[in-house]
């Protein structure tokens, strides 16, 4: 009998999660502990959803748990389908996949997605890029269990040689989404019934196993798979409308982003985001402290966020060609969160200039509700031989379309804010003039 103690932690979503030996070894590392001090839903816990106090750490555990679960399920399924090469590959990469599940968000900035854009602007790196540095240099060189850190990094960055493995961590059906939808809904108090096991049993790996680099994570071709995926996508879409894009929290997040960007040339801020060692000390509370100590407008924005006094929502319009003349590049940019953050920041600056205001007295925000990415089912088109897209089989999936809205928020200190019509005209001029 083994004398090794089994480490199990309770979890509100998974029930119980067993920690693998390598995690027991690294769980006290500052890079790992830091995730306990970053709220999974950022400022939403302070503004609209007081129950959303869960952290990146609990999400990381949940994704790790699902990585093991989906891997076992796919191994079983591949064995049943006699796809021995894929089965062997899943077995070989199991530990890396589980480690990638846990480490996929290790480089998230404070307040999670709220600082994504500011972080990229300052450090030039996304959290996925920064993860490489942290996994290689801030964790022990040997994680044990023969885990290949470079493979873990490839999985986290979605660059593994075999797409079906990357897609388990990052893709249209990834386990990251599965965990955050269930976990976030639980903590914000949104109730819905979703049978995760039933959904996971619909997963499949599509493609000829002789070409592993072309195999993809997809779905079985069954009514059950389609029905469950529709439900999953309806929930996914609704979480954006009801939680992730809810107005006051969103405004607070934009205020925080601007509080950072106002100091993007200040060494106190640059060091915190560029120097990995200092970045690993930067959690939610620490970021608020840094910004408060800098003083000026940044400190004022932070004080207002803490006091729950967010900017006023002044203008809200669908961002389509009927209202605004947008270049094709602009329209393309809206599809990527990073680019639309860049565009809205550019518009914010020009808008304040045109109305003789200092930087970020008005804040422009562009919110895009995305359509689901391409999900394929295990059925090939007789003419092209390509796997059929779920969108072509499901009216519900086809009805979930991408839409963008443009919003203007104003500092409550502005006594006489710009009128709707003038905002509209100014935005039209700015958007038409934007060159990408």
């Amino acid at each position: 009998m083994s004398s090794q103690r089994v480490h199990v932690v309770p979890d509100p979503i998974a029930g119980k999660i067993e920690l693998p030996p390598w995690l027991v070894k690294i769980k006290e590392e500052p890079a790992v502990r830091r995730m306990l001090f970053i709220r999974q839903l950022g400022l939403k816990a302070y503004i609209d959803f007081p129950g959303a106090i869960h952290t990146r750490y609990s999400h990381a555990l949940g994704v790790m748990y699902l990585a093991k679960k989906i891997n076992s399920l796919l191994i079983y399924k591949m064995s049943e389908k006699n796809k021995r090469v894929i089965e062997k590959n899943l077995k070989t990469n199991e530990e890396e996949l589980i480690a990638a599940g846990f480490l996929h968000d290790i480089a998230h900035g404070p307040f999670s997605h709220a600082v994504d854009y500011a972080m990229k602007e300052i450090s030039g790196k996304s959290h996925e890029d920064l993860a490489e540095d942290i996994i290689l240099n801030a964790l022990p060189s040997d994680l044990g269990n023969w885990i290949d850190k470079n493979q873990v990094i490839k999985l986290v960055q979605g660059k593994h040689d075999y797409p079906f493995l990357s897609q388990i961590i990052s893709g249209p059906l990834d386990i990251d989404k599965l965990d955050y939808l269930l976990r976030d809904a639980y903590h914000v108090g949104l109730k819905y019934s979703f049978d995760l096991d039933y959904f996971l049993s619909s997963y499949n790996i599509l493609g000829d196993e002789e070409c592993l680099n072309k195999c993809k994570l997809g779905l079985e071709d069954s009514q059950q798979a389609i029905v469950t995926t529709e439900l999953f996508l309806v929930i996914w879409k609704s979480m954006y409308d009801l939680v992730y894009h809810v107005q006051d929290s969103r405004i607070a997040e934009k205020m925080l982003e601007k509080a950072i960007l106002l100091n993007k040339t200040d060494s106190k801020i640059i060091d915190r985001f560029k120097d990995t060692k200092k970045f690993l000390e930067l959690n939610d509370d620490e970021l608020l402290n840094v910004l408060t100590n800098i003083g000026g407008k940044s400190a004022e924005l932070v004080a207002n966020i803490k006091a729950g006094k967010v900017y006023n929502a002044l203008f809200d319009e669908e961002l389509d060609q009927e209202h605004f003349q947008m270049s094709p590049e602009f329209v393309q940019g809206l599809k990527k969160t990073e680019k639309s953050n860049e565009l809205s920041d550019k518009i914010s600056k020009q808008f304040n200039e045109q109305h003789n205001k200092t930087e970020y007295e008005y804040i422009c925000d562009i919110i895009t509700s995305k359509a689901p990415s391409e999900i394929q089912i295990d059925k090939q088109d007789v003419e092209t031989g390509e796997y059929i897209e779920l969108r072509k089989k499901s009216s519900i999936v086809g009805a979930i379309q991408s839409r963008s809205r443009i919003k203007i928020y104003s500092d409550p200190k502005i006594k006489d804010p710009v009128q709707q019509e003038i905002i509209n005209t100014t935005l039209k001029q700015i958007i038409e003039g934007i060159k990408i």
Partner: protein, 141 residues
């Protein structure tokens, strides 16, 4: 070609009702049962015998989820001591989805409206009996 599965069909059933509303959980359960077994609307909800005839837990869960994601709204009316009726109707978001689904293209709405008009003429006990008859599922006690 795209197909309508459970969520799309449920939205269509609500869309085909007057005021986009169904009164009472029992009526929802039995109407969908009749539409599945008699009218051959391809719902995948599994029904079993329960206290008041055919009942689908999956349907009940899906309705709860649609309420959770704000496609349906649930209202509760007291009908006596410790007795309540739960009504459901499409929200604005639900109506928007109903429009997008464009069910008219395959005549689904016309078909549903005809069936629903017939079912509306039945009071709830008669609807329960009808659902039992078409599904072959009786009450368990």
């Amino acid at each position: 070609m795209t197909a309508n599965s459970d969520i799309a069909l449920l939205i269509a059933v609500f869309g085909a009702h007057k005021n986009n509303k169904i009164t009472g959980r029992t009526r929802i359960q039995k109407e969908i049962c009749v539409l599945k077994y008699k009218s051959k609307i391809p719902f995948t909800f599994e029904y079993k015998s329960y206290f008041y005839g055919p009942y689908s837990e999956e349907l009940s869960e899906t309705i709860n989820t649609l309420v959770g994601v704000k496609l349906l709204k649930e209202t509760v009316t007291a009908t006596g001591y410790n007795s309540y009726r739960y009504d459901y109707f499409l929200t604005e978001k639900g109506k928007e989805l109903f429009q997008k689904l464009n069910h008219d293209a395959n005549g689904l709405i016309n078909k549903l409206q005809k069936q629903i008009k017939t079912l509306d003429q039945l009071d709830t006990p008669d609807l329960v009996s009808y659902a039992k008859a078409v599904s072959g599922l009786d009450s368990i006690c």
